[in-house]
Subunit: 394 residues, 2 copies
């Protein structure tokens, strides 16, 4: 039958994702993918999983397999309430809600807030998954400038002074894709600005616990509690396959987010929430986190050193204190995508940075490199190869 | 901050759910709830869960905790491909897609197909969770008549002849809320009609395996493969807290459903999909199903007998061969909701049937009774009490 003529307008406007096409090339055997954004399987606490499962069934029995409330499994929310105090977030279990991964909240945000044509302010570059969640609701985007210190507060203020945005979407720590972190001074300044303009800020914080150097920074939410929806996930510090995220929103926003979540998925997997709860309750996260950090830190170091050694002098890159990505900027006028096929032929894949910009033509000279999935020696070799490719005349 | 003025129009139009308010009364201690729609925890295969978990980690290791493709965990889709042949559905793993519960697909259907004002044809009465998933996308509903034999094909044909509907949504077997099953002859007739009018049918099939008497019927999908999106779930035959549903859609529709699912939740929990896969692969479902049936069948029998014994002569009710619900119709002009508070005072809760109708004023004399959550003796007593309440003059 003809499905095409049944599609909603929002669906018709969804293009085949260019990045998906590009990433298809990555699955070639022998490929070293610096293109992904996924945690190393060695970072998962496989050894404690049987114990976690045992605790879940001992403690919750059949409740762990039953339907649960949309807001989230209460014991997990209670554990998060205790855990988040150390991240400068003091909230009761009632204020913490569980989502089906971070993606689940991004979609719910789109559903609750975005009317076709609405403006959403995003970092340039920004996270693709957020755009993918928001796009079906038909927003327009306005880009906030970034530099080495993260979001430029003056750029945000100018946007808020000139236009009305539905919300601002930021990843202040070890941003995907840029790896950049918004400094403490700027976090405070951004908190002042959103309060001054009574603007809603979505603060996405998946990576902050993956810190290899330097000091943890408080989230913007801690400086502007009534104006920020804070969101994070267990995907990078436990296991992404469990699809457990969480959020703290101003109460009125939270009640709408819950209401739409009920229509989206009823609730997030009870069993997986119970596992996450026991992961926190048993102190397992505190034991696992140093292991994850000591797995990733040398990989990042190897990549940074290889970039320094091999990359052409006119290239610059971020040197984040944590996270999963390094952002490389080539000389102006350079088109990184043009080298993609050649790199893939040499078995190295990356993501051309232009895909992370909402403005056409922006970021042509940039690329995102991920270092979590390969060994140090493989990373070093891949960067050397990539440097050779980039030095080849087109 | 003022969240209200940031809401999308679709959100503003979401009313506080009247049924939620009604169900709040149910949590009173001592309440016998015939209002729910959830499986008995005794139906969960608790005894085999440790073995299932062990098999998952033995077989898949860290893959069970990693990100997975949006389409679903391949081994689960392969097991479903084999399993569904017995349900008259012969499809390859590529054609079977995993969803985050049935709700996940209902939401995706709304997102892919529904434009504000679009007509969706639904049974009268129909499943509330489907309306909750579709409503944010702004459809109008048109009701298809039902009788004791299920959907009335002539009513469906009249609708399709007169108007253009985006899709038809049916639960042909042991329907929620009515318990009714659309007969084999009518299934074939409906298949002819959707093909004749080139209409898209969503066939929701959560209950068909819960059959206590009579013979299994083939799904409508088996008679009109190109026009039907078939969907089902592990919630009633394994565990609802795992949130695993699945669907088989015409290929073009499937590709759009996958595309939007990526923005909604990336993918469904890998770990839970692996558990469901091993549940099928190990033959555990085949062993558990007779246990579930022998748990529910006597409950249903007890409720039917108590209705016969205690309910006033002017009441009629469905006598389904399976499922989780019995549908009671009072005399015309009767308002079942008016008795709700009195029933709750006597510690018996039910759902007034009017909530399952999309047309205002319909179904005032109806109620939905669930029998899965209480013992036979409790059910018998509750029905006797409810009969007393209904006999009281208002």
């Amino acid at each position: 039958m003809d499905i095409d003529n049944l599609l909603a307008n929002r669906t018709k406007s969804m293009k085949a994702s260019a990045i998906r096409e590009i990433l298809k090339l990555v699955s070639k055997p022998g490929m070293v993918s610096l293109a992904g954004g996924i945690p190393a399987p060695e970072s998962f606490p496989m050894d404690i999983m049987p114990e976690l499962v045992r605790r879940v069934f001992d403690k919750y029995g059949s409740f762990a397999l039953q339907y649960d409330v949309t807001e989230g499994f209460v014991p997990l929310r209670e554990e998060l309430s205790k855990y988040l105090v150390r991240q400068h977030l003091s909230y009761s279990a009632e204020d913490i809600h569980i989502t089906s991964g971070s993606q689940g909240l991004l979609d719910a945000l789109g559903k609750v807030f975005i009317e076709p044509g609405d403006l959403i302010a995003v970092e340039a570059p920004t996270y693709l998954g957020a755009l993918q969640a928001f796009n079906p609701y038909g927003p327009r985007y306005i880009s906030i400038q970034m530099d080495e210190e993260g979001v430029v507060p003056e750029s945000l203020e100018e946007i808020l002074r000139k236009t009305k945005v539905k919300f601002i979407y930021l990843i202040p720590t070890f941003q995907n894709p840029s790896g950049r972190t918004t400094s403490l001074a700027r976090r405070k300044r951004i908190a002042e600005i959103v309060q001054k303009y009574d603007a809603l800020l979505v603060e996405d914080d998946p990576y902050s616990r993956l810190r290899y150097r330097g000091e943890e920074l408080p989230p913007i939410k801690s400086f502007a509690p009534d104006h920020v929806i804070y969101m994070s996930t267990f995907s990078k510090v436990f296991a992404p396959g469990l699809r457990i995220g969480f959020s703290i929103a101003p109460r009125e926003a939270a009640s709408w987010l819950i209401k739409v979540k009920q229509g989206i998925d009823l609730h997030t997997s009870t069993f997986n929430q119970a596992l996450a709860s026991e992961y926190l309750a048993g102190g397992f996260l505190d034991k696992q986190l140093p292991k994850i950090v000591s797995l990733y830190a040398p990989k990042q170091k190897a990549m940074l050193e290889a970039l320094k050694q091999h990359f052409p002098a006119e290239y610059r890159w971020s040197e984040p204190e944590g996270g999963m990505f390094i952002w490389v900027e080539g000389p102006e006028g350079m088109d990184v995508e043009a080298y993609y096929k050649k790199a893939v032929e040499r078995n190295v894949a990356y993501v051309p940075g232009k895909f992370f910009f909402t403005e056409p033509g922006a970021g042509l000279e940039t690329m995102r490199l991920n270092f979590t999935m390969s060994s140090e020696s493989v990373l070093t070799k891949a960067i050397a190869t990539l440097a050779e490719v980039l030095k080849t005349p087109r």
